[in-house]
Amino acid sequence: MIKYLVRRALGWLLMIVVATNVTYILAWSFLDPRSNYVGRKPPLSPEQIENLLRPRNLDNTVPLVERWWTWLTGIVLRWDWGVSPTGGSVNEQVAYRMWVSAELVLGATIIMTLLGIWIGVYTASRQYKLGDRIWQGISIITMNINIIVAALAVVILAINFNTWVGTRVFFVTGSSSEGVTGFFPVIVDALQHLILPTIALVVIGYAQYHFLQRTLLLDNISADYVRTARAKGLTKQQAIRRHALRTSLIPVATQVAFSIPGIFTGAILTESIFAWQGMGRYFLTTINGNDVHGVVAVAAFGAVLTAIGALLADIAVVVLDPRVRVS
């Protein structure tokens, strides 16, 4: 079992490496750090620009292969992901942004998965009854609201709520407040900032799990082995809970991995709206600033998140499906 997981982890690592390298080349095809200096007053001479860019490994007169090699060795030997065109270290930027985004993305993923599964199970066992129909209606609408609309709507509601209550219960800007110290106050403060963007992401994201789980559970409910379980003497509810549920959870777990890239994209937009200084914001800054190294770091981060999600899904499959352990 451990061997299986280790093998999978190595596979994902390979994917991350390849994806990052491809992004490096793609970034260079579309971005040009030189253009940052166009139109400067007073104008800089080509040598001056070169003197600025070359030490930063951002000079496109240097052959691409050379630039790539310098960049790659920097990462592998010194874990240095390079500098931006203005000289700022990418490592520094990513270091704190990483945690900000991770807490948003992973937190939202876990909550929406659990919520979706729970609603899916609930509605499957009440197929076509009122509870099922209500949730179907809610989910089909929330699933199709754009994240931007959802986030802004949440902002508007929160501002109105804050005004109505009189104090700042929900924070609509930033991921944390200045000057908060102490273990609990920091956590509470973090939660106050986290809750709104998480709500926005969860509300539009849970429905895909709801529908998936519901469909899978319904398929399994009509399976022959559930009928055998009932023929043994289990009541319908018992048979569903013990036999159908476990089998239906397996495909849902694998789905989680594939939806993380989508959640990350949602986080990019959410971070913009909530002014979080996370990787999402960084994404915009780096593209607009022709910061090749920064763009690659964002891509790597996204790939890592996907890999983490995939591994968690694999662990869940191993736990739920004993057949994997045997083969």
Binding site: D224, Y225, A229, K232, T247, P322
Partner: protein
Amino acid sequence: MSTPTSKTVLSVRDLKVSFASEAGRVDAVRGVSFDLEAGKTLGIVGESGSGKSVTSLAIMGLLDENAKVTGSIQFEGQELLGKSDKQMSMIRGNGMAMVFQDPLTSLTPVFTIGDQLVEALTVHRGLSKSEAWDRSLELLRVVGITNPEKRMKSFPHEFSGGMRQRVVIAIAMANNPRLIICDEPTTALDVTIQAQILDLIEKAQDETGAAVIMITHDMGVVARTADDVMVMYAGKPVEHAPAHELFHNTRMPYSIGLLGAIPRVDKAEKEPLIPIKGNPPLLIDLPDACPFASRCPIAIDACVRREPDLVPIASDSGENHLAACIRADQIDSDGLIGGLPVYPAPELHESSLTRTPREERPVTLEVRNMVKTFPLLKGALFKRKVGEVHAVKGISFDVREGETMAIVGESGSGKTTTLLQIMDFEKQADGDIIIAGTSVNGLHSRKVERTLRRDIQIVFQDPMGALDPRMTVTDIIAEPMQAIGMNKDEIHSRVQELMDLVGLNPAHRDRFPGAFSGGQRQRIGIARALSTNPKIVVLDEPVSALDVSIQAGVINLLDELKVKLGLSYLFVAHDLSVIRHIADRVAVMYLGEFVEYGDVDDVFDNPQHPYTQALLSAIPVPDPDIERTRQRVIFDPETMSTRPATV
């Protein structure tokens, strides 16, 4: 057999079940009544759509929520209809148990066998973990599973079909039920395993003294296991009699037709199979008339005026014999009415080719030393070979013009692989495949290959899966002709011709396969195979997915076409009775090799190899007198010999 008690275990009166559907209300069961005593076996026989499975599910209370069930079902004096799911769940698996058809899907894939057995015990009795474990081991031993300690921790997918069915029977027996319902328990299994499972069910009945309901479409199984037989058609029983009476004194035309449509493995002279024309009716808005009237050769006006009741008829043996036919009294025990057979016998086709000795006829297909091994691969990203499976270990045979050659074997014998090798034109390293004189090894161009494909065509097993549901009948039949480049007008007229040939109405050529019945779809498949005028047609279990009465019609059609068009056939099948009827030569395949090969009469009447002997011994014969007194043998793969069957 155990001594029968006079206690009635199950009493069903006027059971009716209906469902809502897109096209209206479907009356799946329209009035079933019977009594069943402890220790006795009731065989319920019928084809698809007869309502037999729905009856059993209604008794167990496992029907869908939108099913309307009326009537009365009394189990040990208690009325079952009207009980809640919770109340029924206390009886299910306890007083009543059920064995289902498909052992592959009947067991939960993610729980061990042990867990599932223990669950069956603990759900009804307050046993401790170790007590339940011990009892489970005991049950596994009773059903004949060796090494039960290890097996308890295995998963269903690690077992073969036969072993899984044994586990299902163990689960059913777990709490000493008084009624065991078996719904086609052996249909999905190989013939030799089938025999063992039927023995096992008998043993279970002996041990528990339970009453058994055996639901099946196989008259041979009925002859072997049933004390009483109930024949169902269109949701109602049309004949109900003790086994001997039913088989030798059949009174209802449908039952007569059913028995006449079955090929016999023990009869050498070739009697033509008697098909029942038409199809079972749709169970929606049935008029008040005999549902069989449209297919019955002796129907009269009175038959369509009112639906006949199931009434006792006078029988010589004095036993209770019920039949739902107003002319039942006019039929005598030889199946004659007014001196003529109820079903007119179709003419037997004799081909002029059979008069020439086979050595002098041209060879249409020759296989020399065919070998096929499959590598066993392991590994997720990069697969590596860890072993080999020898599916076919060097077989050779030939098929002459006008001859039907059959390859018989159970699952894992390699017969399907052989067939696919031939159709794939697989070049053989140390042998050859020669089709109508052209060697496959010598094929080097696509064009030549395509021309060769004209001469050999295939008919598949599953009539639904073999036809693209999105293509019209014309398109389906025309496809091979389009592939070889015939022009449109030729194709058009040929399609009409072919449809006439196989007994389909050419006016329906623009319909889709879904609008046809199973037998008709198979005829479309046959028409398609004949479209390029092949010399040899390969058939992969062409009738095993069809109802018995339809099967006969297709078999007769194949015979007729063979004579008319001078075809040769290569049949691959597991059903020996069909093979006996239709084949001239037969090869018995076991683990990739031919263990016996020769003329069909020689092989069947005088089997040399122990495996063939065991195979023939396992096939149930539709005659209870023969079945009950037979001595069966089992093949032992270790010693490669037979031993008498013990349970």
